[in-house]
Symmetry: C2
Subunit: 285 residues, 2 copies
């Protein structure tokens, strides 16, 4: 498998962003106050996995997982895989062509927080290469008790990342996010949204890569601020119960609708990495 | 909608079985010992729901739900619905014909127990009428720490119910159950199995109805015995954690694979009734 300089740069970025996210989250673990007294600050542990290397398929990834005190469970996966799509998927994959060959790399982050006053967050960006090449991803936030300042800050950060590239991005990608992270059987949104994009290829690879980096930078800037704003506020058992039920909805979305999850499960991906997004604890009434 | 005497008898049976199950489970709540001290015995509450009565579609059901002390969450649903299948489902439904008309009634039970030493259980039987008519259903058990005596008793009770009707039933329906309640992405079974059957129409409606009743009677006999055997044994926090993780697998199965769940969600069934099978609390590591 020949990896171009562009592919290598994308992969390096995903790994660098992962390292910076892990450091930022570990710093928050160290700062945690009264509600976390008696619990040690969490640290990420890393675990690598490999795809079975058969008939040209291969690659793998690294899961960084922390079960901490502020971050009850947070996973940051970086993966780089290549191979041949099975025929049924090749049809759905732009440019996969007759041979169905692909290369894909990306970063995926999901954080479930101990305090019900701190929103959960999800971010994923990826670069995919077939006979075509494109970027995709997004970021969205799931507060249990939505806070106007958080919502504004989160959307503002993502809008700034979008606007730096193209003023049409934000309205389109925000609407796409609202449409995607929706539970039709509940007729309710997963959270307060954010942005979602896919198949982004403007013809200017450098610009598209810069936009993808900007999404990661935005998350890295805004989310720790939101966490710090609420993490040391005391919470009640009733609020915790509301959080666990909200997490149940998160499980429903991921197992019933999320394309990444169902795609991964059906193509024999790494189970631990695919299901790292599931919350540490969830309730149904 | 004209309901035949046979359909009425099936429906009466499902309601009678529900009443007997609820009484049996409430009796267990009253008997609970030391580990449940300070918790009041649970009682079922019932809630009815109706399908929107448009263009000949209608019916509804009653959910009986208990969040007790031995039974952390147990639901017993009885429903009776009729109408017209959407075209895509009509194709998959034997005898639905051009007009896609159907009548369906059934009982569904799922029990998640507080003690990790007491198995969870599921039972469902149903009678469906299109231009054809048949019975379907089954029962299966999900221990957290399998116990040989429980497993033997559970299988023996279901085998006796099968053998009274037809000696070929048990081996076929047991294998069907093992095949159905399996999580391919984990390469693991949901529990220790039981029986599963569908499209049962031998041409002798009375015999098929008798078999369906026998499955219900078997569950009503064997499961309370297994619950009483273990419910008052003390358990540890570690065992509880193993239980919560096992329940996560139950959630995965129900949302990813269970035909009843995905069928219900996609046809706009009653959400509360469909998702009553989900555990009160579940964990992912």
């Amino acid at each position: 498998m020949i990896v171009t300089e562009q592919q290598q740069r994308a992969l390096n970025w995903f790994a660098t962003l992962r390292d910076r996210l892990c450091l930022a989250f570990e710093a928050i673990e160290d700062e945690a106050g009264i509600p976390y007294a008696g619990m040690p600050p969490g640290r990420f542990t890393r675990k690598t996995w490999q795809r079975p290397d058969v008939s040209g398929d291969g690659g793998g990834g690294t899961m960084a997982l922390m079960q901490g005190r502020v971050f009850e469970k947070v996973g940051v996966n970086v993966s780089s895989v290549h191979g041949t799509f099975h025929q049924e998927f090749a049809k759905a994959m732009p440019g996969a062509g007759e041979e169905g060959q692909f290369w894909a790399a990306g970063i995926s982050l999901v954080a479930h927080m101990r305090s019900p006053l701190v929103p959960a967050v999800h971010m994923n960006t990826r670069h995919i290469v077939t006979t075509l090449h494109w970027f995709g991803g997004g970021a969205d936030m799931t507060p249990i008790f939505p806070d106007e300042a958080d919502t504004t800050d989160f959307h503002t950060a993502l809008q700034a990342a979008c606007d730096a590239s193209d003023p049409t991005y934000y309205p389109r990608f925000k609407e796409w996010c609202d449409r995607y992270f929706f539970l039709p059987h509940r007729n309710e949104a997963r959270g307060i949204g954010g942005i979602f994009y896919d198949n982004l290829d403007t013809g200017d690879w450098e610009a598209d890569f810069a936009f993808t980096r900007a999404v990661g930078e935005a998350l890295l800037d805004v989310y720790p601020r939101i966490v710090r704003r609420h993490m040391n506020r005391p919470w009640t058992e009733d609020q915790r119960q509301v959080q666990l039920v909200k997490r149940g909805r998160y499980v429903e979305f991921n197992l019933l609708y999320d394309r990444g999850t169902t795609f991964g499960l059906k193509t024999g991906g790494n189970i631990e990495a695919i299901l790292m997004s599931l919350p540490p604890l969830a309730a149904w009434t």
